[in-house]
Amino acid sequence: MSFVIQLMSGLAIGSIYGLVAVGFSMIYRAMGLVNFAQGDMMMVGAFLGYTVLATFAGAPFWLAIVGAMLGAAVLGLVIERLAFRPSVKRKADQVYLVLLTLGIGIVLSNGARLIWGANPVVYPTPLTHEIVVVAGYPLPAVYLYIAVVTPLLLAALHLFFTRTWLGLALRAAADDPETAATFGIRAGLTSSASFAIATAIGALAGVLYAPIAFVSFDMGAIGVKAFAAAALGTLGSIPGAVIGGFIIGLGETFGGQLIATEYQDSIAFAIMIAVLILRPTGLMGARS
């Protein structure tokens, strides 16, 4: 029983890490950027979903998802235009851009604290306290949504990057901005689109995560482990992000129980560092 619970628990938390990690990987793939604000974008998305549910009493859960994703996409556009565009135009290098995303994260989390308050909120929907029993193991009912939405998201992203003009343009621009420019792909467009999409994915993760726990301005901290997951599974690889999420989730759950729960965070990062030492570009990276 204990083993099954640990396994299910690790998979459950791993799926959350994986969802957030997909946002990281997506923005890395499209822009070559490590976005430290991704966890906070998830947080804002979760609050937007809360606002939808709190404003329209009895609104279905999918409406919260859609509303949060749309709202977050707009926010992503605003962030890109106000904070990001000037630095990209200046051809600022990676260190600047990473620090910039740190700043964006700080503004988002503290802005959210001022807007939604310092106390955590709980989604006013029955889903929050519903349980489904899977293989004799009780799970929060929202995992049904996660089980459906995650594969859909992965498929959609795959199609987007391989079939749509915008997706191909994003990839081309990330790989070779100069060549892309000669094909009429504007850098501004691609960076706006990347930000909007990554923020929307973050919001999706936030709304799906919210009923499991609660929503608070500092919940972006979960992004940090998601970040380890994305790195572990090779930044830029979207299936890698999901696999990395499961590895971190399972690793810290079993590791915490085996070694010491108070070192759980360390275990997560130790796993990441160990994997990266063995495979410097992550699990899905090319062998060198």
């Binding site: 890395y28 490590v34 904070a83 000037p86 630095s87 200046r90 600022a92 290098d93 990676q94 260190v95 600047y96 990473v98 620090l99 910039l100 740190l102 700043g103 964006i104 994260g105 700080i106 503004v107 988002l108 989390s109 503290n110 802005g111 001022l114 940090v224 970040f227 380890a228 790195a231 930044l235 010491a260 108070e262 070192y263 965070d265 360390s266 997560a268 990062f269 130790a270 990441m272 560092i273 990266l276 030492i277 410097p280 570009t281 992550g282």
Partner: protein, 359 residues
Amino acid sequence: MSRQEAQAKPMAQAKPLTQAKPLVGALPGPRSRGAARPAGRAWRPTETQRDWLVFALVMAVAWLLPVSLGGFALYLGLIVAFHAIAALGLQLMVGVAGQLSLGHAAFMGIGAYATVILEKRFGLSFPLACLGAVALTTAAGLLMAQLIRLNGVYFKIATFGFGVIVHQIIANWVSLTGGTAGITGVPPLTIAGYALRTRLDLFIAEMVALTLVYALLLRLSHGRIGRAFRALGQNETAARSVGIPTDAYRMIAITLGCAAAGLAGSFMPHVFRFISPESFTWHESVVLLIMITVGGLGSLPGAIVGAALLVVLPEYLRDFAQYKMLAYGVLLIASMALMPRGVAGLLADAARRLGRRAS
């Protein structure tokens, strides 16, 4: 030597070419006009001389302002000084050599705890304890530097993980560190039997360390070594392509940065008389990064100015404490977007304009 001689020849032969067709017609900007250097123009300091002039100015203010104001300003000086030491190290590592660390506060933590434990448990005097602490931090930095075999982005994430692990060890190794309760009653800093009880004494000790670190890093940032660090920071592949052993330089920059953090950490418990793991969180690492960014990435005096700003600023924002972190975030974004060279860059531009008007 022989290769240089071999090179001298083609150069001499090729020279006529350049007279035939100058490629650079009208170059924009004031720099090129200055470069023409018309005869009779007043003495212009070289880059190196200018840096030392700034050094003298910054150090004069840093020494004299807190001392002449005294009281709480002097206490703030104590806090600024050790932050400035840590920020200088971080500046070399991040601003100059481009090795972003997201766990720098953890190294301050190692230095702080090592110093206190060596003093309280082993009865060492401060110089020895400090030496031990710096040695330990250097070793930890060297350990982290081994991670440079990870590619750039992955290294940044790994430094974050390193910070988390160090923080958890400090918080959970209760028998050694006192755990989450921290260590109270830190004895006054004692050098050669003389206890530095007053603020002024402690300030002098810290400022001596700060001045030395600044001078050392300034020397190191000039000439061949400094150029190699900057080349590494600006384009690693290009640096490799001109024969700079980038791996070695990355490791050295990281280790030096961590050693400086350890030295800063050594003073911290003597300023506060108390340490606890709460002072060495990820949040503090971010504050250190904001210091060097607001001060101006890549600028050593900028690191000191940034440290001073971020320690003193909250005193003016007391009524807006709720908005403080928001303000920090906006400040960070604004420095990135509007003044990428930070306060140091603004001051340098102002000085240049002033100089031009004067001449």
